[in-house]
């Protein structure tokens, strides 16, 4: 790890100010990705701006049909939250399946979204539910947030403060875990909302994406059988030591069926 300065601001404007003043600085949330990346010298920030001292970035609230989760809320808190379990049980289940308990005790939703790992779980829920990412300066619709491999719509000095999820009529998530890391080899989030059906796929391509053919089929018939004959084009999918593109394409269909079944439970 290269040397860095450590800052612990107690308010969002101070954190954003420090980030704007020092383009080589990085925000520190749970550190579950940033610290391993720094140890491998894939990131060499000049300063770390710790978000743990900022009150108000953590917590879960339900207001009518809108669930808001603070950026610094750890996965374990979302997984164990009775509020989340009542409003969007699929989201609680997703959070409870991230990594392992030690990772869930530290890793945060804000860090996961800002990082935009192609195999991360939360992006599937955020895109699948049509959530809104709230930052220090604006609100970003999920459809506009995920731009590509580790790439989001966030500006260099922009800070996620919370994520707002609309309560769906029903939703489900299924992932095929890498047995070693438990990241998603493929994960599919399916939601039926008042605005229609949304299907989001993570793990399969450079970034999370929606599957329009699956959405149309489920809008007509919300059953696992409705998507059984569909598939995504393997040409656009990742291939690595864990799975070929054609296998990932196959898994998308299988996980979509399982996600619908979970939503119907």
């Amino acid at each position: 790890m290269k040397a860095f300065d450590y800052l612990k601001p107690d308010a969002v404007p101070a954190a954003v100010g420090a980030l704007a003043a020092n383009p080589d600085a990085k925000l520190l949330a749970g550190g579950m990705t940033l610290l391993p990346t720094m140890k491998q010298r894939l990131a060499e920030p000049a300063a770390l701006i710790d978000l743990a001292g900022i009150a108000g970035l953590k917590g879960i609230t339900l207001d009518g049909d809108t669930l808001t989760i603070g950026a610094m809320t750890p996965h374990a808190e979302v997984a164990a939250s009775a509020t989340v379990a009542a409003a969007i049980p699929a989201l609680a289940a997703l959070a409870g399946g991230i990594g392992d308990p030690a990772v869930r005790n530290r890793g945060t939703i804000g860090g996961s979204l800002a990082n935009c790992d192609p195999s991360a779980d939360y992006p599937a829920a955020v895109l699948g539910l049509g959530a809104t990412v709230i930052t220090d300066r604006r609100e970003i619709a999920a459809d506009d947030f995920f731009l590509g491999l580790f790439e989001t719509a966030l500006e260099a000095d922009e800070l996620i403060t919370a994520v707002r999820f609309p309560r769906p009529l029903r939703a489900g998530y299924a992932k095929f875990k890498s047995p070693a890391s438990r990241y998603a080899l493929v994960g599919v989030f399916v939601a039926e909302t008042v605005a229609g059906v949304r299907v989001a796929v993570t793990g399969a391509a450079a970034s999370v994406f929606r599957a329009p053919a699956f959405e149309a089929a489920l809008a007509a018939d919300f059953t696992p059988g409705a998507v059984a004959g569909l598939s995504v084009d393997a040409a656009d999918l990742n291939a690595d030591i864990h799975a070929e593109a054609s296998y990932r394409a196959h898994l998308v269909t299988v996980m979509a069926k399982r996600a619908v079944a979970a939503a119907l439970e």
Binding site: M1, K8, L35, D50, A76, N105
Partner: protein, 181 residues
């Protein structure tokens, strides 16, 4: 825990870059004031190299193996992925804090009783993780739940069945049916 060594004189890899800071933390119930010259020091390196507590092990140093598991404010964390400088005011529990007066903690005793280790490298992490599991999730003896709850702690010697059996024994579901022959 009165005989803990004093922190070693701190050595910086980049003395010119680092400003000294001081953190106060509760370590195994004892309040400690620790000078830190370098924000890069992880909790794991602080424990092992500066406070003389070498129970927590460094397996992978990137959050994948669980050998460094300790409790931070009562919850399991990988000490290799926590910066010591962030811990002012925190409470940390390590394997050295278990038991006392020559007696083993019930989890330690159960691990011995069930041969839940071979080389022992993963064992401090396994026991701290099991302690966290019981605190976080209570005493449900379902073996599948225990396996999932211990999934962050790898054992290269393959003692997992005996580890699950030892934890179940502490919960009071003591039978040896999980044990390999």
């Amino acid at each position: 825990m009165a005989d803990l060594p004093e922190p070693l004189p701190v050595q910086s890899a980049a003395p010119e870059a680092a400003e000294a800071s001081i953190i106060g933390l509760t370590l195994n119930g004892v309040t400690r004031v620790v000078p830190l010259d370098d924000p890069r020091v992880t909790l794991l390196d602080l424990l092992r190299e500066r406070l003389g507590l070498s129970g927590a092990k460094k397996g992978c140093d990137r959050g994948q193996c669980g050998a460094c598991t300790v409790l931070l404010d009562g919850r399991r964390v990988n000490a290799c992925l926590v910066l010591a400088v962030t811990l002012d005011g925190a409470a940390v529990e390590t394997i050295e804090g278990l038991g006392g007066g020559g007696a083993l903690h019930p989890l330690q005793a159960a691990f011995v009783e069930h041969d839940a280790l071979q080389c022992g490298f993963c064992t401090p992490g396994q026991i701290m993780s099991a302690l966290g599991l019981l605190a976080e999730e209570g005493n449900d003896p379902d073996p599948e739940r225990i396996r999932a709850g211990m999934s962050g702690n790898l054992c290269r010697c393959g003692a997992h069945p005996a580890i699950v059996a030892a934890i179940r024994a502490v919960i009071g579901a003591g039978d040896r049916s999980e044990m390999p022959e």
